[in-house]
Amino acid sequence: MTAPVPLDEVPLDAVPLDAVPLDGAPLDPPPPVELLSVEKRFANGVLGLEPTTLRVKPGEFITIIGPSGCGKSTLLKLASGLAEPSDGRVWWWRGPFARVGEKTRRLAFVFQDPTLMPWASVAANVRLPLDIGHVDPTEADDRVAAVLAELGLSDRATQRPRQLSGGMRMRTSIARALVTDPDLLLMDEPFGALDELSRNRLDERLLQLSAERGLTTMFVTHSIYEAAFLSTRVIVMAANPGRIYAEHTIDAPHPRGEAFRLSPAFADHARELTRLLTAASLDTRGNQP
């Protein structure tokens, strides 16, 4: 069954028709983000991402793994509107970026480092997107208090970022993303600097939250185990030039917890991901002009 792409939302000449994959993706609900033949060539001529098509379906938890420098961050920045593709087109809910931020089309991005305002308290940092969006102050207070409690930061609300541990700073950054009640959450190695146990705990929390809030997530990580634990689908990327090398679906049911980590299925997925990642890191075509 092939559903037509609703062309009323997109200027016809904005994207070559052959770049639109008509593979029958359902329109309702629309995919939170679609990369259509998206290419990223940097100003210095380096091809960061060769033309890539990726459709993220609602409710998916997509994890991107790959060797360092293969373009994971580049892909995520394109999906967040932080970077412009040099060719191809990105759609959010089948619309242009200008419409992102409307109700049911909220996007939040968690950077690799916490990027907090050093002069503001934890609560003020978390509140920032609500202040920018002119949310009613009392409502904002309530939402900040709720999300801080959710992430175990209530007793740190008045402290400054430099008084927190690395993990707490990261949680503050995640709280700042969640407080906007996003529909699409993009995270670039958010737990990279954390110890294994904190990371596992936050992973479980993240899964709970995505289930409760119906989040769609794109998540970059270096950890195969994290990818196997979190994802519904893992994208394996290869470098030189950056591209999608393979995909692996993880069909284990949610909610997942410690039991899943110890299951043979988990070990199988982890082994398969290791195999794909090894193959991806060996597969370099050399830097093309």
Binding site: S80, G81, L82, G101, L107, F109, F111, D113, T115, M117, P118, W119, A120, L128, P129, D131, I132, G133, R160, P161, R162, Q163
Partner: protein, 264 residues
Amino acid sequence: MTTLLHNRDLLPVVAPIAIGAIILGGWQVTCTVLAVPDYLFPAPSSIWHALCGNWPTLFHALLGTLKVTLMAFAIAVITGTLIALLFAQSRLIEISLLPYAIMLQVTPIVAIAPLIIIMIDDTFISLVLCAAAVAIFPIISNTTIGLKAVDPGLLAYFRMARASRWQQLVRLRIPSAVPFFLAGLRIASGLSLIGAVVAEFVAGTGGHSSGLAYEILQAGFQLDMPRMFAALALITFAGVAMALAMAGLSRLALTWHGTGGDDQ
């Protein structure tokens, strides 16, 4: 002595005082032993006598100089900050106006001061203008740099969160600029005193009596070296007081700002 040398709070206070005492003592002894006449090089004791003897005049002059200095400082801070905010609004404004700000900075105040003093009848206003012209540049340049020295990650966050230009300015650029602004403030406080004294000298040679510089000029005409040194000591004292006040202020502000203080 060893415990004192290891006391990190007291040492920065005690050590300079000790050096000062040694120098003053040596100076006094040398002058007494060699019987140096006061009109060549006065001993500290003569300077002290001159200070006490001329206290009403000197104190009045000190107040005058401080009034000019503080007024000029305030004007430089307010105007300089406004100009920096204007520069931050558009690259075009900045590249159009910056050369003039630099021209203002590189032209020696002694060269402009006579002009200003002749053109403006009120001596006080002309002195304040001269001193403010000297002090304004570090405020403009530091604050401009600070408004641009924004963490690129935070800037990307603000852009993605669709913050307006105004929100970016108020919530990101101005707080980021605070440490730079404070550094500018410290330089400007010293420069406003220098500017005030230089302008007073120029005005003094033109016959407009005002401030400690005029006292120095007068003492020079009368070869009253102790009184000259006393006025000089008061200028130094005013400068040190301003510097200490600014250091305290910026410490407080940086602790509040979360980028300074002891619990780093």
